[in-house]
Symmetry: C2
Subunit: 307 residues, 2 copies
Protein backbone atom coordinates (compact mmCIF):
# COMPACT_ATOMS: atom_id res chain seq x y z
CA UNK A 1 0.00 0.00 0.00
CA UNK A 2 0.96 3.64 -0.27
CA UNK A 3 1.69 4.60 -3.86
CA UNK A 4 4.81 6.81 -3.87
CA UNK A 5 3.34 9.93 -5.48
CA UNK A 6 5.70 12.50 -3.96
CA UNK A 7 9.07 12.23 -2.23
CA UNK A 8 8.79 15.28 0.01
CA UNK A 9 5.63 17.17 0.89
CA UNK A 10 5.88 20.65 2.41
CA UNK A 11 2.91 21.74 4.48
CA UNK A 12 2.86 25.52 4.84
CA UNK A 13 0.61 26.23 7.80
CA UNK A 14 -0.05 23.57 10.44
CA UNK A 15 -3.72 24.02 11.32
CA UNK A 16 -6.70 21.69 11.07
CA UNK A 17 -6.30 20.98 7.35
CA UNK A 18 -2.52 20.49 7.19
CA UNK A 19 -2.38 18.35 10.33
CA UNK A 20 -5.25 16.23 9.01
CA UNK A 21 -3.39 15.84 5.70
CA UNK A 22 -0.34 14.58 7.57
CA UNK A 23 -2.41 12.08 9.55
CA UNK A 24 -4.21 10.94 6.37
CA UNK A 25 -0.88 10.53 4.52
CA UNK A 26 0.38 8.29 7.29
CA UNK A 27 -2.85 6.32 7.29
CA UNK A 28 -2.47 5.84 3.51
CA UNK A 29 0.99 4.39 4.09
CA UNK A 30 2.80 7.17 2.23
CA UNK A 31 6.48 7.03 3.02
CA UNK A 32 7.37 10.51 1.73
CA UNK A 33 9.05 12.99 4.03
CA UNK A 34 6.58 15.50 5.52
CA UNK A 35 8.08 18.90 6.26
CA UNK A 36 5.84 21.38 8.02
CA UNK A 37 6.08 25.00 8.98
CA UNK A 38 3.92 27.70 10.54
CA UNK A 39 4.42 31.37 11.21
CA UNK A 40 3.68 31.01 14.93
CA UNK A 41 6.45 29.51 17.08
CA UNK A 42 3.79 28.05 19.36
CA UNK A 43 2.13 26.20 16.48
CA UNK A 44 5.51 24.85 15.35
CA UNK A 45 6.25 23.66 18.89
CA UNK A 46 2.86 21.93 19.10
CA UNK A 47 3.49 20.21 15.77
CA UNK A 48 6.91 19.05 17.01
CA UNK A 49 5.27 17.69 20.15
CA UNK A 50 2.52 15.86 18.22
CA UNK A 51 5.03 14.51 15.72
CA UNK A 52 2.82 14.38 12.63
CA UNK A 53 5.63 15.93 10.52
CA UNK A 54 9.02 14.36 10.00
CA UNK A 55 10.54 17.77 10.36
CA UNK A 56 9.32 21.23 11.33
CA UNK A 57 11.09 24.05 9.52
CA UNK A 58 11.42 27.56 10.90
CA UNK A 59 10.35 29.30 7.70
CA UNK A 60 8.27 28.56 4.62
CA UNK A 61 11.27 29.35 2.41
CA UNK A 62 13.22 26.61 4.16
CA UNK A 63 10.32 24.13 4.24
CA UNK A 64 9.78 24.08 0.48
CA UNK A 65 13.41 23.20 -0.39
CA UNK A 66 13.51 20.01 -2.44
CA UNK A 67 9.79 19.40 -1.94
CA UNK A 68 7.94 18.02 -4.96
CA UNK A 69 4.58 18.93 -3.44
CA UNK A 70 3.98 22.21 -1.62
CA UNK A 71 0.62 22.75 0.09
CA UNK A 72 -0.38 26.27 1.09
CA UNK A 73 -2.67 25.60 4.07
CA UNK A 74 -2.89 29.13 5.39
CA UNK A 75 -5.59 31.83 5.45
CA UNK A 76 -6.27 33.30 2.03
CA UNK A 77 -5.00 36.70 3.15
CA UNK A 78 -1.56 35.25 3.88
CA UNK A 79 -1.10 33.56 0.50
CA UNK A 80 0.57 36.36 -1.43
CA UNK A 81 3.33 36.99 1.12
CA UNK A 82 4.08 33.27 1.35
CA UNK A 83 4.15 32.89 -2.44
CA UNK A 84 6.74 35.66 -2.62
CA UNK A 85 8.73 34.12 0.20
CA UNK A 86 8.94 30.60 -1.25
CA UNK A 87 9.18 31.41 -4.98
CA UNK A 88 12.93 31.31 -5.36
CA UNK A 89 13.33 28.12 -3.30
CA UNK A 90 10.84 26.02 -5.25
CA UNK A 91 12.17 22.98 -7.12
CA UNK A 92 11.61 22.96 -10.90
CA UNK A 93 8.79 20.55 -11.69
CA UNK A 94 7.31 20.73 -8.19
CA UNK A 95 3.55 21.00 -7.74
CA UNK A 96 2.18 23.85 -5.64
CA UNK A 97 -1.41 23.59 -4.42
CA UNK A 98 -3.47 25.28 -1.74
CA UNK A 99 -6.53 24.53 0.38
CA UNK A 100 -8.10 28.00 0.46
CA UNK A 101 -11.88 28.45 0.50
CA UNK A 102 -11.85 30.91 -2.40
CA UNK A 103 -10.06 30.34 -5.65
CA UNK A 104 -10.07 33.45 -7.85
CA UNK A 105 -8.37 35.59 -5.20
CA UNK A 106 -5.83 32.87 -4.40
CA UNK A 107 -4.88 32.55 -8.04
CA UNK A 108 -4.47 36.32 -8.34
CA UNK A 109 -2.37 36.42 -5.17
CA UNK A 110 -0.14 33.42 -5.83
CA UNK A 111 0.25 32.73 -9.55
CA UNK A 112 2.14 35.91 -10.54
CA UNK A 113 4.91 35.15 -8.03
CA UNK A 114 5.63 31.53 -8.88
CA UNK A 115 8.35 30.51 -11.32
CA UNK A 116 7.10 29.16 -14.67
CA UNK A 117 8.69 25.75 -14.11
CA UNK A 118 6.42 24.73 -11.21
CA UNK A 119 2.87 23.38 -11.56
CA UNK A 120 0.42 25.57 -9.69
CA UNK A 121 -2.89 23.68 -9.27
CA UNK A 122 -5.16 25.45 -6.76
CA UNK A 123 -7.54 23.29 -4.73
CA UNK A 124 -10.20 23.41 -2.06
CA UNK A 125 -11.02 20.38 0.08
CA UNK A 126 -14.61 20.81 1.27
CA UNK A 127 -13.84 19.51 4.71
CA UNK A 128 -13.51 21.04 8.09
CA UNK A 129 -14.84 21.22 11.59
CA UNK A 130 -15.42 24.15 13.89
CA UNK A 131 -12.09 23.44 15.55
CA UNK A 132 -8.80 24.86 14.39
CA UNK A 133 -5.08 24.48 15.03
CA UNK A 134 -2.60 21.57 14.88
CA UNK A 135 -4.32 19.60 17.64
CA UNK A 136 -7.63 19.56 15.72
CA UNK A 137 -6.40 17.33 12.87
CA UNK A 138 -7.45 13.73 12.29
CA UNK A 139 -6.89 11.23 9.48
CA UNK A 140 -10.58 10.82 8.53
CA UNK A 141 -11.29 14.48 7.81
CA UNK A 142 -11.28 14.11 4.03
CA UNK A 143 -13.02 10.73 3.75
CA UNK A 144 -15.79 10.91 1.15
CA UNK A 145 -15.44 14.72 0.99
CA UNK A 146 -14.88 16.58 -2.27
CA UNK A 147 -11.66 18.32 -3.13
CA UNK A 148 -12.28 20.75 -5.95
CA UNK A 149 -9.14 21.32 -8.02
CA UNK A 150 -8.99 24.40 -10.23
CA UNK A 151 -6.61 23.74 -13.11
CA UNK A 152 -6.48 25.99 -16.18
CA UNK A 153 -5.94 25.22 -19.86
CA UNK A 154 -2.15 25.26 -19.42
CA UNK A 155 -2.08 22.82 -16.50
CA UNK A 156 0.12 19.79 -17.09
CA UNK A 157 -2.15 16.70 -17.27
CA UNK A 158 0.44 14.51 -15.57
CA UNK A 159 0.79 16.86 -12.61
CA UNK A 160 -3.00 17.11 -12.30
CA UNK A 161 -3.33 13.34 -12.41
CA UNK A 162 -0.71 12.90 -9.71
CA UNK A 163 -2.32 15.49 -7.40
CA UNK A 164 -5.71 13.84 -8.00
CA UNK A 165 -4.37 10.44 -6.98
CA UNK A 166 -2.72 12.01 -3.92
CA UNK A 167 -6.03 13.45 -2.67
CA UNK A 168 -7.86 10.23 -3.44
CA UNK A 169 -5.28 8.38 -1.31
CA UNK A 170 -6.17 10.81 1.50
CA UNK A 171 -9.80 9.65 1.23
CA UNK A 172 -11.25 12.48 -0.86
CA UNK A 173 -13.26 12.56 -4.07
CA UNK A 174 -11.73 14.92 -6.62
CA UNK A 175 -13.48 17.14 -9.13
CA UNK A 176 -12.40 20.12 -11.20
CA UNK A 177 -14.12 23.46 -11.71
CA UNK A 178 -13.29 26.90 -13.02
CA UNK A 179 -12.45 29.48 -10.34
CA UNK A 180 -15.44 31.81 -10.88
CA UNK A 181 -17.92 29.00 -10.70
CA UNK A 182 -16.21 27.55 -7.63
CA UNK A 183 -16.47 30.88 -5.84
CA UNK A 184 -20.18 31.21 -6.64
CA UNK A 185 -21.06 27.64 -5.61
CA UNK A 186 -19.16 28.07 -2.36
CA UNK A 187 -20.78 31.45 -1.70
CA UNK A 188 -24.11 29.61 -1.72
CA UNK A 189 -23.17 26.43 0.11
CA UNK A 190 -20.70 27.80 2.62
CA UNK A 191 -19.80 31.48 2.70
CA UNK A 192 -23.26 33.07 2.93
CA UNK A 193 -24.48 30.45 5.46
CA UNK A 194 -21.46 31.16 7.64
CA UNK A 195 -22.02 34.92 7.60
CA UNK A 196 -25.68 34.38 8.45
CA UNK A 197 -24.84 32.08 11.34
CA UNK A 198 -22.27 34.56 12.68
CA UNK A 199 -24.88 37.31 12.42
CA UNK A 200 -27.62 35.41 14.26
CA UNK A 201 -25.27 34.45 17.08
CA UNK A 202 -24.16 38.07 17.30
CA UNK A 203 -27.78 39.23 17.56
CA UNK A 204 -28.43 36.82 20.41
CA UNK A 205 -25.30 38.06 22.15
CA UNK A 206 -26.48 41.67 21.87
CA UNK A 207 -29.99 41.22 23.11
CA UNK A 208 -30.30 42.73 26.55
CA UNK A 209 -33.61 41.22 27.61
CA UNK A 210 -32.44 37.71 26.84
CA UNK A 211 -29.45 37.22 29.04
CA UNK A 212 -26.41 35.28 27.89
CA UNK A 213 -27.15 32.50 30.28
CA UNK A 214 -30.66 32.01 28.93
CA UNK A 215 -29.48 31.95 25.34
CA UNK A 216 -26.99 29.29 26.31
CA UNK A 217 -29.17 27.33 28.71
CA UNK A 218 -32.12 27.11 26.36
CA UNK A 219 -30.19 26.90 23.12
CA UNK A 220 -32.40 24.69 21.00
CA UNK A 221 -31.79 23.02 17.68
CA UNK A 222 -31.39 25.83 15.25
CA UNK A 223 -29.42 28.28 17.33
CA UNK A 224 -27.19 25.53 18.67
CA UNK A 225 -26.24 24.55 15.12
CA UNK A 226 -25.60 28.20 14.29
CA UNK A 227 -23.21 28.56 17.23
CA UNK A 228 -21.26 25.57 15.96
CA UNK A 229 -20.84 27.23 12.58
CA UNK A 230 -20.09 30.57 14.21
CA UNK A 231 -17.24 29.05 16.23
CA UNK A 232 -15.09 28.60 13.12
CA UNK A 233 -11.71 30.26 12.76
CA UNK A 234 -12.19 34.08 12.65
CA UNK A 235 -9.09 34.82 10.56
CA UNK A 236 -9.94 32.26 7.92
CA UNK A 237 -13.49 33.56 7.63
CA UNK A 238 -12.50 37.22 7.60
CA UNK A 239 -10.27 36.43 4.61
CA UNK A 240 -12.99 34.41 2.87
CA UNK A 241 -15.42 37.33 2.95
CA UNK A 242 -12.84 39.90 1.95
CA UNK A 243 -11.68 37.81 -1.01
CA UNK A 244 -14.99 36.37 -2.22
CA UNK A 245 -16.75 39.71 -1.81
CA UNK A 246 -18.77 39.84 -5.04
CA UNK A 247 -20.27 36.37 -4.96
CA UNK A 248 -20.98 36.54 -1.23
CA UNK A 249 -22.69 39.95 -1.50
CA UNK A 250 -24.74 38.73 -4.44
CA UNK A 251 -26.01 35.70 -2.53
CA UNK A 252 -26.64 37.77 0.60
CA UNK A 253 -28.67 40.19 -1.54
CA UNK A 254 -30.86 37.36 -2.75
CA UNK A 255 -31.10 36.00 0.76
CA UNK A 256 -32.33 39.34 2.10
CA UNK A 257 -34.91 39.58 -0.68
CA UNK A 258 -36.29 36.13 0.20
CA UNK A 259 -36.16 36.82 3.92
CA UNK A 260 -38.19 39.99 3.42
CA UNK A 261 -40.79 38.02 1.42
CA UNK A 262 -41.11 35.47 4.24
CA UNK A 263 -41.22 38.23 6.87
CA UNK A 264 -44.10 39.80 4.95
CA UNK A 265 -45.86 36.41 4.87
CA UNK A 266 -45.52 36.22 8.65
CA UNK A 267 -46.72 39.80 9.12
CA UNK A 268 -49.77 39.30 6.89
CA UNK A 269 -50.49 35.82 8.26
CA UNK A 270 -50.02 34.06 4.92
CA UNK A 271 -49.75 30.50 6.23
CA UNK A 272 -50.03 28.90 2.82
CA UNK A 273 -46.94 30.71 1.51
CA UNK A 274 -44.94 29.67 4.58
CA UNK A 275 -46.11 26.06 4.36
CA UNK A 276 -45.27 25.80 0.66
CA UNK A 277 -41.83 27.29 1.20
CA UNK A 278 -40.99 24.99 4.10
CA UNK A 279 -42.19 21.94 2.16
CA UNK A 280 -39.97 22.76 -0.80
CA UNK A 281 -36.81 23.03 1.31
CA UNK A 282 -37.25 19.49 2.64
CA UNK A 283 -36.42 18.02 -0.76
CA UNK A 284 -32.90 19.48 -0.77
CA UNK A 285 -32.17 17.79 2.54
CA UNK A 286 -33.22 14.45 1.14
CA UNK A 287 -30.89 15.00 -1.83
CA UNK A 288 -27.91 15.63 0.45
CA UNK A 289 -28.56 12.45 2.41
CA UNK A 290 -28.92 10.45 -0.81
CA UNK A 291 -25.63 11.94 -2.08
CA UNK A 292 -23.89 10.54 1.01
CA UNK A 293 -22.83 13.96 2.29
CA UNK A 294 -24.73 13.63 5.57
CA UNK A 295 -26.56 10.95 7.49
CA UNK A 296 -30.24 10.63 8.22
CA UNK A 297 -29.55 9.97 11.90
CA UNK A 298 -31.51 12.43 14.03
CA UNK A 299 -29.26 15.16 15.35
CA UNK A 300 -30.26 16.31 18.72
CA UNK A 301 -27.03 17.80 19.78
CA UNK A 302 -25.13 15.18 21.62
CA UNK A 303 -23.34 12.81 19.32
CA UNK A 304 -20.65 10.85 20.98
CA UNK A 305 -21.99 11.50 24.43
CA UNK A 306 -23.86 9.01 26.51
CA UNK A 307 -26.49 10.71 28.60
CA UNK B 1 -39.11 1.76 39.89
CA UNK B 2 -41.39 4.31 38.24
CA UNK B 3 -43.13 6.63 40.68
CA UNK B 4 -46.88 6.44 39.98
CA UNK B 5 -47.54 10.10 39.16
CA UNK B 6 -50.56 9.62 36.89
CA UNK B 7 -52.94 6.70 36.32
CA UNK B 8 -53.88 7.44 32.74
CA UNK B 9 -52.03 9.72 30.33
CA UNK B 10 -53.76 10.87 27.14
CA UNK B 11 -51.45 11.87 24.29
CA UNK B 12 -53.31 14.05 21.79
CA UNK B 13 -51.25 13.90 18.61
CA UNK B 14 -48.85 11.00 17.98
CA UNK B 15 -45.85 12.62 16.32
CA UNK B 16 -42.19 12.83 17.30
CA UNK B 17 -42.83 14.38 20.73
CA UNK B 18 -45.79 12.24 21.85
CA UNK B 19 -44.25 8.98 20.66
CA UNK B 20 -40.97 9.88 22.39
CA UNK B 21 -42.92 10.64 25.59
CA UNK B 22 -44.52 7.19 25.44
CA UNK B 23 -41.13 5.52 24.95
CA UNK B 24 -39.61 7.59 27.76
CA UNK B 25 -42.52 6.73 30.11
CA UNK B 26 -41.93 3.04 29.49
CA UNK B 27 -38.21 3.46 30.00
CA UNK B 28 -38.95 5.19 33.33
CA UNK B 29 -41.02 2.18 34.37
CA UNK B 30 -44.28 4.11 34.59
CA UNK B 31 -47.17 1.68 34.75
CA UNK B 32 -49.92 4.16 33.88
CA UNK B 33 -52.21 3.52 30.94
CA UNK B 34 -51.15 5.47 27.84
CA UNK B 35 -54.02 6.40 25.54
CA UNK B 36 -53.12 8.06 22.27
CA UNK B 37 -54.99 9.65 19.44
CA UNK B 38 -54.29 11.52 16.23
CA UNK B 39 -56.48 13.17 13.64
CA UNK B 40 -55.01 11.11 10.80
CA UNK B 41 -56.18 7.50 10.50
CA UNK B 42 -52.78 6.59 9.04
CA UNK B 43 -50.97 7.97 12.09
CA UNK B 44 -53.32 6.08 14.41
CA UNK B 45 -52.69 2.87 12.46
CA UNK B 46 -48.91 3.40 12.67
CA UNK B 47 -49.17 3.95 16.43
CA UNK B 48 -51.21 0.73 16.77
CA UNK B 49 -48.57 -1.11 14.78
CA UNK B 50 -45.68 0.28 16.85
CA UNK B 51 -47.54 -0.37 20.08
CA UNK B 52 -46.17 2.47 22.17
CA UNK B 53 -49.68 3.26 23.47
CA UNK B 54 -51.82 0.86 25.46
CA UNK B 55 -54.79 2.00 23.46
CA UNK B 56 -55.35 4.24 20.43
CA UNK B 57 -58.62 6.17 20.55
CA UNK B 58 -60.46 7.39 17.47
CA UNK B 59 -61.02 10.93 18.76
CA UNK B 60 -59.45 13.33 21.22
CA UNK B 61 -62.79 13.58 23.08
CA UNK B 62 -62.68 9.85 23.68
CA UNK B 63 -58.96 9.73 24.50
CA UNK B 64 -59.15 12.19 27.40
CA UNK B 65 -61.89 10.31 29.29
CA UNK B 66 -60.71 9.46 32.81
CA UNK B 67 -57.18 10.67 32.04
CA UNK B 68 -55.47 12.53 34.87
CA UNK B 69 -52.82 13.91 32.50
CA UNK B 70 -53.69 15.20 29.03
CA UNK B 71 -50.83 16.24 26.74
CA UNK B 72 -51.63 18.37 23.68
CA UNK B 73 -48.83 17.37 21.29
CA UNK B 74 -50.22 18.93 18.12
CA UNK B 75 -49.33 21.94 15.99
CA UNK B 76 -50.13 25.23 17.71
CA UNK B 77 -52.74 26.07 15.07
CA UNK B 78 -54.75 22.97 15.98
CA UNK B 79 -54.86 23.68 19.74
CA UNK B 80 -58.07 25.71 19.94
CA UNK B 81 -60.24 23.20 18.08
CA UNK B 82 -58.92 20.35 20.23
CA UNK B 83 -59.46 22.32 23.46
CA UNK B 84 -63.11 22.84 22.48
CA UNK B 85 -63.46 19.18 21.55
CA UNK B 86 -62.10 17.72 24.78
CA UNK B 87 -63.37 20.31 27.28
CA UNK B 88 -66.56 18.57 28.38
CA UNK B 89 -64.88 15.15 28.70
CA UNK B 90 -62.06 16.26 30.98
CA UNK B 91 -61.96 14.77 34.48
CA UNK B 92 -62.13 17.27 37.36
CA UNK B 93 -58.66 17.65 38.88
CA UNK B 94 -56.90 16.45 35.72
CA UNK B 95 -53.80 18.27 34.49
CA UNK B 96 -53.73 19.51 30.90
CA UNK B 97 -50.37 20.47 29.42
CA UNK B 98 -49.02 21.00 25.91
CA UNK B 99 -45.70 20.83 24.10
CA UNK B 100 -46.16 23.77 21.71
CA UNK B 101 -43.20 25.93 20.68
CA UNK B 102 -45.00 29.17 21.53
CA UNK B 103 -46.80 29.83 24.78
CA UNK B 104 -48.80 33.09 24.68
CA UNK B 105 -50.84 31.99 21.65
CA UNK B 106 -51.45 28.52 23.11
CA UNK B 107 -52.72 29.99 26.35
CA UNK B 108 -55.05 32.33 24.44
CA UNK B 109 -56.29 29.44 22.29
CA UNK B 110 -56.73 26.83 24.99
CA UNK B 111 -57.38 28.39 28.41
CA UNK B 112 -60.80 29.99 27.67
CA UNK B 113 -62.27 26.63 26.67
CA UNK B 114 -61.16 24.50 29.60
CA UNK B 115 -63.35 23.92 32.66
CA UNK B 116 -62.22 25.66 35.84
CA UNK B 117 -61.70 22.38 37.70
CA UNK B 118 -58.74 21.19 35.58
CA UNK B 119 -55.14 22.36 35.97
CA UNK B 120 -53.85 23.89 32.75
CA UNK B 121 -50.06 24.13 32.89
CA UNK B 122 -48.60 24.92 29.44
CA UNK B 123 -45.15 23.57 28.67
CA UNK B 124 -42.49 23.43 25.99
CA UNK B 125 -39.87 20.70 25.91
CA UNK B 126 -36.84 22.08 24.04
CA UNK B 127 -36.22 18.84 22.24
CA UNK B 128 -36.68 17.65 18.72
CA UNK B 129 -35.02 16.38 15.61
CA UNK B 130 -35.61 17.17 11.96
CA UNK B 131 -37.76 14.03 11.70
CA UNK B 132 -41.47 13.95 12.41
CA UNK B 133 -44.27 11.43 12.84
CA UNK B 134 -44.90 8.44 15.15
CA UNK B 135 -41.94 6.44 13.80
CA UNK B 136 -39.49 9.24 14.71
CA UNK B 137 -39.90 8.89 18.49
CA UNK B 138 -37.27 7.48 20.86
CA UNK B 139 -36.95 7.30 24.63
CA UNK B 140 -33.83 9.47 24.93
CA UNK B 141 -35.22 12.57 23.21
CA UNK B 142 -35.72 14.58 26.42
CA UNK B 143 -32.59 13.49 28.28
CA UNK B 144 -30.82 16.54 29.71
CA UNK B 145 -33.08 18.86 27.67
CA UNK B 146 -35.10 21.65 29.25
CA UNK B 147 -38.84 21.62 29.52
CA UNK B 148 -40.08 25.12 30.20
CA UNK B 149 -43.37 25.10 32.10
CA UNK B 150 -45.47 28.25 32.07
CA UNK B 151 -47.66 28.33 35.17
CA UNK B 152 -49.46 31.49 36.29
CA UNK B 153 -50.17 32.90 39.76
CA UNK B 154 -53.30 30.73 40.12
CA UNK B 155 -51.56 27.43 39.25
CA UNK B 156 -51.96 24.77 41.93
CA UNK B 157 -48.50 24.10 43.43
CA UNK B 158 -49.24 20.40 43.87
CA UNK B 159 -50.22 19.95 40.22
CA UNK B 160 -47.11 21.85 39.11
CA UNK B 161 -44.91 19.72 41.34
CA UNK B 162 -46.41 16.53 39.94
CA UNK B 163 -45.98 17.61 36.33
CA UNK B 164 -42.40 18.65 37.11
CA UNK B 165 -41.61 15.23 38.57
CA UNK B 166 -43.23 13.58 35.56
CA UNK B 167 -40.98 15.42 33.09
CA UNK B 168 -37.92 14.78 35.24
CA UNK B 169 -38.77 11.06 35.10
CA UNK B 170 -38.77 11.38 31.30
CA UNK B 171 -35.18 12.67 31.52
CA UNK B 172 -35.78 16.41 31.22
CA UNK B 173 -34.70 19.37 33.32
CA UNK B 174 -37.66 21.57 34.25
CA UNK B 175 -37.79 25.33 34.58
CA UNK B 176 -40.60 27.88 34.70
CA UNK B 177 -40.95 31.15 32.80
CA UNK B 178 -43.67 33.65 31.98
CA UNK B 179 -45.20 33.26 28.50
CA UNK B 180 -44.00 36.56 27.01
CA UNK B 181 -40.44 35.95 28.06
CA UNK B 182 -40.58 32.37 26.80
CA UNK B 183 -41.74 33.53 23.39
CA UNK B 184 -38.94 36.10 23.14
CA UNK B 185 -36.20 33.70 24.26
CA UNK B 186 -37.40 31.10 21.79
CA UNK B 187 -37.66 33.65 18.98
CA UNK B 188 -33.92 34.19 19.47
CA UNK B 189 -32.76 30.64 20.06
CA UNK B 190 -35.07 28.76 17.73
CA UNK B 191 -37.71 30.58 15.68
CA UNK B 192 -35.56 33.20 13.93
CA UNK B 193 -32.74 30.67 13.25
CA UNK B 194 -35.24 28.30 11.66
CA UNK B 195 -36.68 30.97 9.39
CA UNK B 196 -33.19 32.00 8.37
CA UNK B 197 -32.20 28.42 7.59
CA UNK B 198 -35.37 27.88 5.55
CA UNK B 199 -34.62 31.09 3.65
CA UNK B 200 -31.02 30.22 2.83
CA UNK B 201 -31.97 26.75 1.60
CA UNK B 202 -34.72 28.33 -0.51
CA UNK B 203 -32.22 30.77 -2.05
CA UNK B 204 -29.92 27.89 -3.02
CA UNK B 205 -32.87 26.07 -4.55
CA UNK B 206 -33.78 29.11 -6.64
CA UNK B 207 -30.36 29.87 -7.99
CA UNK B 208 -30.24 29.00 -11.65
CA UNK B 209 -26.49 29.09 -12.24
CA UNK B 210 -25.79 26.74 -9.36
CA UNK B 211 -27.64 23.60 -10.22
CA UNK B 212 -29.41 21.52 -7.63
CA UNK B 213 -26.94 18.74 -8.02
CA UNK B 214 -23.97 21.01 -7.30
CA UNK B 215 -25.61 22.48 -4.23
CA UNK B 216 -26.16 18.97 -2.98
CA UNK B 217 -22.89 17.44 -4.10
CA UNK B 218 -20.73 20.19 -2.66
CA UNK B 219 -22.85 20.97 0.35
CA UNK B 220 -20.28 21.96 2.92
CA UNK B 221 -20.54 22.56 6.64
CA UNK B 222 -22.79 25.55 6.98
CA UNK B 223 -25.30 24.86 4.27
CA UNK B 224 -25.51 21.18 5.23
CA UNK B 225 -26.48 22.17 8.78
CA UNK B 226 -29.01 24.62 7.40
CA UNK B 227 -30.68 21.92 5.32
CA UNK B 228 -31.03 19.79 8.41
CA UNK B 229 -32.85 22.60 10.20
CA UNK B 230 -34.90 23.37 7.09
CA UNK B 231 -36.14 19.77 6.93
CA UNK B 232 -38.28 20.23 10.05
CA UNK B 233 -42.06 19.75 9.97
CA UNK B 234 -43.61 22.46 7.73
CA UNK B 235 -46.99 22.60 9.54
CA UNK B 236 -45.44 22.96 12.95
CA UNK B 237 -43.18 25.75 11.77
CA UNK B 238 -45.87 27.58 9.82
CA UNK B 239 -47.88 27.71 13.05
CA UNK B 240 -44.89 28.84 15.10
CA UNK B 241 -44.32 31.86 12.88
CA UNK B 242 -47.99 32.76 12.64
CA UNK B 243 -48.42 32.59 16.41
CA UNK B 244 -45.14 34.11 17.58
CA UNK B 245 -45.29 36.84 14.99
CA UNK B 246 -44.25 39.86 17.07
CA UNK B 247 -41.20 38.38 18.78
CA UNK B 248 -40.01 36.67 15.59
CA UNK B 249 -40.35 39.82 13.49
CA UNK B 250 -38.56 41.84 16.16
CA UNK B 251 -35.60 39.45 16.19
CA UNK B 252 -35.54 39.24 12.39
CA UNK B 253 -35.47 43.04 12.27
CA UNK B 254 -32.40 43.08 14.48
CA UNK B 255 -30.87 40.29 12.47
CA UNK B 256 -31.28 42.22 9.22
CA UNK B 257 -29.75 45.33 10.80
CA UNK B 258 -26.69 43.34 11.88
CA UNK B 259 -26.45 41.54 8.57
CA UNK B 260 -26.45 44.86 6.72
CA UNK B 261 -23.65 46.11 8.98
CA UNK B 262 -21.55 43.03 8.21
CA UNK B 263 -22.38 43.27 4.49
CA UNK B 264 -21.11 46.85 4.56
CA UNK B 265 -17.93 45.67 6.29
CA UNK B 266 -17.42 43.15 3.49
CA UNK B 267 -18.13 45.73 0.79
CA UNK B 268 -15.75 48.29 2.29
CA UNK B 269 -13.11 45.69 3.12
CA UNK B 270 -13.21 46.29 6.88
CA UNK B 271 -11.42 43.14 7.99
CA UNK B 272 -10.98 44.29 11.56
CA UNK B 273 -14.73 44.62 12.10
CA UNK B 274 -15.33 41.13 10.67
CA UNK B 275 -12.55 39.59 12.73
CA UNK B 276 -13.81 41.18 15.97
CA UNK B 277 -17.36 40.05 15.29
CA UNK B 278 -16.35 36.46 14.52
CA UNK B 279 -14.15 36.30 17.61
CA UNK B 280 -16.99 37.42 19.87
CA UNK B 281 -19.38 34.73 18.63
CA UNK B 282 -16.94 31.95 19.56
CA UNK B 283 -17.51 32.60 23.26
CA UNK B 284 -21.21 31.73 23.05
CA UNK B 285 -20.37 28.36 21.55
CA UNK B 286 -18.02 27.61 24.43
CA UNK B 287 -20.80 28.50 26.88
CA UNK B 288 -23.22 26.04 25.27
CA UNK B 289 -20.70 23.21 25.47
CA UNK B 290 -19.95 24.04 29.10
CA UNK B 291 -23.70 24.05 29.84
CA UNK B 292 -23.90 20.46 28.53
CA UNK B 293 -26.31 21.35 25.70
CA UNK B 294 -23.95 20.15 22.97
CA UNK B 295 -20.71 18.26 22.68
CA UNK B 296 -17.31 19.47 21.65
CA UNK B 297 -16.89 16.56 19.24
CA UNK B 298 -16.11 17.87 15.76
CA UNK B 299 -19.15 17.67 13.52
CA UNK B 300 -18.22 16.94 9.99
CA UNK B 301 -21.48 15.58 8.83
CA UNK B 302 -21.36 11.86 9.17
CA UNK B 303 -22.11 10.76 12.70
CA UNK B 304 -23.04 7.16 12.92
CA UNK B 305 -21.61 6.33 9.52
CA UNK B 306 -18.40 4.50 8.90
CA UNK B 307 -16.74 5.69 5.73
Amino acid sequence: MGEQLYQRVALIGLGLIASSMAHAMRRAGMTCEIVGTARSAETRATAEELGFCDRVAATAAEAVKDADLVVLAIPVGAMEAIAKEIASNLTPGATVTDVGSVKKAVIEAVAPHLPKDVHFIPGHPLAGTEHSGPRAGFAELFDNRWNILVPDEKTDPGALERLTRYWQALGANVDTMDPDHHDLVLAVTSHAPHLIAYTMVGVADDLRRVTDSEVIKYSAAGFRDFTRIAASDPIMWRDVFLTNKDATLEILGRFTEELFALQRAIRTGNGEQLFDYFTRTRAIRRGIIEAGQDTDAPDFGRQGKKS
